[in-house]
Amino acid sequence: MSVDYEYVVIGSGPSGTMAAQTLIDAGRHVAMVDVGILGRDYEATLPQGSYEELRRTDPNQYRYLLGDQFESVDWDDIKVGAQLTPARKHLAREVERLIPMISQTFFPMESMAYGGLGSGWGLGAYVYSDQELARAGLSSAAMRSAYQVVCDRVGISAGQDDVSRYVIGHLANTLPPLQMDNSTQQLYKTYQAKRRSLNKRGIYFGNPAMALLSTPFNNRKATRYDDMDFYTDRDRAGYRPWITLNVLREHPNFTYLGGLLALRFYEDETSTFVEVLNVHTNQSRTIKCRVLILAAGVLGSARIVLRSFKKDVRQLSLLCNPYSYLPCLHLRMLGTPLSAQKTSMAQAFMIYDEKNAGNDIVSMAIYTYRSLMLYKIIKEAPLDFSDGLGIFSILQSALMIVGIHHPDAPSPKKYLRLMEKADSPTGDALFAHYELDGTEAKQVAQKERTVRSIFAGLGCYPLRSVRPGFGGSIHYAGSLPFHSSELAGTTSSNGRLHKTRSVFVADGSGFNYLPAKGVTLTLMANAHVTALNALAHE
C-alpha cells in the first residue's frame, strides 16, 4: 500500500533532528512535521566586535540588545524565558495560542521554533553515567556508542579534570576545554587550594562540557570569546539543531513540512496516519506514513499521545529537574573587570556527590554576568534605580550566578492530563500538576543549604536563592515511561510506543529518572538509538 512518506518525524528540536539524520544516513525517506517559527533577523543589525566593544561604539545597539519593539525589556516578575534576547524571543512565540498549558504548580518553557528549544539552549552537554542510564531505563552499551556518534556530529569542548568522569564519561574526540574567565579562574584556584577536603565531601569543580567549539570543527568556526552568544549564532560555534536541519533540507530524501501542528495519530494494518493542522489556515489534513517518530518534546509528545489514546490514557507522569539559581558575590573580584574575552555561557561546572557514589548527584553550572545587561538585575533590587545602577555597576564583575539542578524521580504528585479548551485551535490544553513529596522537598532544601555553604567557603557569598517555579529547569522527561509490559501510555525499551505497531518515541518521554545534568546530549543520543531501533523493526 502506498504511503505519503516512509518515515515521519514530528518536531525539529535536538531529538527530532538527530533521529532524522540517522534515518537519512541509513538511506530512508523522511518527512519532518514541524511548526517551525523563525526569529526576526537581527543579524543584519549586528556589526562585528565583542560585546564590550559594541557597547562602547555602536549607536544602534538598542536594536539587537533591547529589540526594535523593546521586546526584550521585561517589566513583569522573573519567569521562565524572561532572559531571552531579541534574537531568541521567537522561542516563546505562538506557544500560548497553539499549545496552551494550564497549571498552578508547573511553569515550563516550550517552543514552536525552528530547531525547538535547541535554538536557545545553553549548550551544556553532559553524559549520564551507566548508573544514571540504568535508572532512566536506557541501555548503557547502546547509549555509550550513541553519545560518541552525537559528539562527533555536534562537537563538544571539555576538560580532563575533576568533573570529567561526571560530564564526559567515556567520550573520545572531545575538543579542548573552553577558556574560563578571570573570575572563574580565581574561584578554581581557591577550589584547588581546598581540593582534598572538598573532594572528601563529594564536591568537584572543573570545566563544563559544552556543545560550543573551542577549535574549528565540521566546517564550523571556533568561538571568538566575544561574549555575544545570547545575541547571535553568527559563526555557528554553538551547536543548534537548525544547523543539522538546514543540511538535511538539501538532501533529496528529506522533506520539511513546516507550519504544521501534529494533532493525533492512528494506525491500520499497514500504515500510520497523522492528523495535522495548518497553523496559518487552520485547515487540517492527514499524512500517511509507514513509521511515525514522536519528537515533539516531552510535553508536546504527551499532548499527541493523550489525544490519540483519549479513551485509554487519561493521565501521564512527568519528570523535571527541580531548579534554582543562586546569585553570589565573589568578593575578590570587586574592582576588577571581567575578562574582555569570554563566552556568555557556563564558565565552570560543579558536582555535589554527597556519598561519593555517583548516586543522586546535584550539579551546579557557574555563570558570570555581563552580556544580559545591568538593567535587568537592577530591577530586582529593592532600591531606587539610580543607586541600584551605582551598586550593580560595581558588583557586576563580582557577581556569579550558580544554576543548581536536582535529580527527579516519578511520583503520583507529578502528572499531565488533557483538558478541554474551546478557544484553543486544538480544542484542548495540557494540564500539569507538579509537587515534590515531603522527602524530596527536604532533600532539595538540605542540598541547597550545602551548596550555599560550599560557595561561601570558596569566598563566593550567596545572596538569596531564586526559584523560578517548577518547570524552570527546562529539562523534561518521563511522560511515556519505559515499561516491560504492553501498557497504553508507556514505551517499550526499544522506544516503540506500547499499543502501537510503528510509532516510536525519540525524545525524553521514556526516561524513568532524570539525573541532575543537562538532558539534551542524552536526548540526542537516545533519538539516535531510537531511530536505529525503528530501522531494525522494519
Binding site: R55, F70, L334, Y375, L383, D384, F385, D387, L389
Partner: protein, 139 residues
C-alpha cells in the same frame, strides 16, 4: 506593534519627561537619541499610570530633586508601579547609548574604592527609600 505616531504635544511632553527622568538616572543631561527612543517606547509599550502615580509624576516633573526618594519609596511599597516602569525602560535605553557605557560596564578601581562607593550608594539608597515611603504616604 508600533503605533505610527502619538499626538505631537504628547510626544513633546514625553521628551521633557525623558530629560528629567534621564538626568536623575545618570546624573547628566541625556543624549537626544535616548529621548527619541523613550518616545518610541511609549508608542509601543503600554504605560498605565493610576491616579496616584500620575500625581507623583506631575510633582516630580516640577521638583526633580524628589525623584530619588519617590523611586526608592516605590521600590519598597509599590514595586510594579508604572511610574517605575517608565524609569525602567529609560534605564534600559540609556544602557544602550555608547556615551554612557562606562556607567554600566564595570571599571577597574582599587578594592577599597569599590567598597567605599558601595557604602555610599547603599546608604543613600536606604535613606531615599525611607523618605520616599513617608512621601508616598503623605501624598
Amino acid at each position: 506593534m508600533t503605533k505610527q505616531t502619538l499626538p505631537q504635544d504628547m510626544e513633546k511632553e514625553l521628551a521633557v519627561e525623558a530629560r528629567v527622568l534621564g538626568s536623575y538616572l545618570i546624573g547628566e543631561r541625556i543624549d537626544e537619541r535616548a529621548v527619541a527612543l523613550y518616545v518610541k517606547a511609549h508608542r509601543t509599550i503600554p504605560f498605565v499610570l493610576d491616579e496616584k502615580d500620575q500625581r507623583l509624576l506631575n510633582l516630580l516633573l516640577k521638583h526633580p530633586f524628589l525623584l530619588g526618594s519617590v523611586d526608592g519609596g516605590l521600590a519598597l511599597v509599590k514595586r510594579r508601579s508604572h511610574l517605575r516602569k517608565k524609569l525602567y525602560y529609560l534605564l534600559a535605553i540609556l544602557e544602550t547609548i555608547p556615551r554612557y557605557s562606562k556607567k554600566f560596564l564595570s571599571q577597574k578601581r582599587p578594592f577599597w574604592a569599590a567598597v567605599l562607593n558601595l557604602a555610599f550608594f547603599g546608604i543613600r539608597g536606604v535613606m531615599r527609600a525611607l523618605t520616599g515611603c513617608m512621601l508616598y504616604i503623605l501624598i
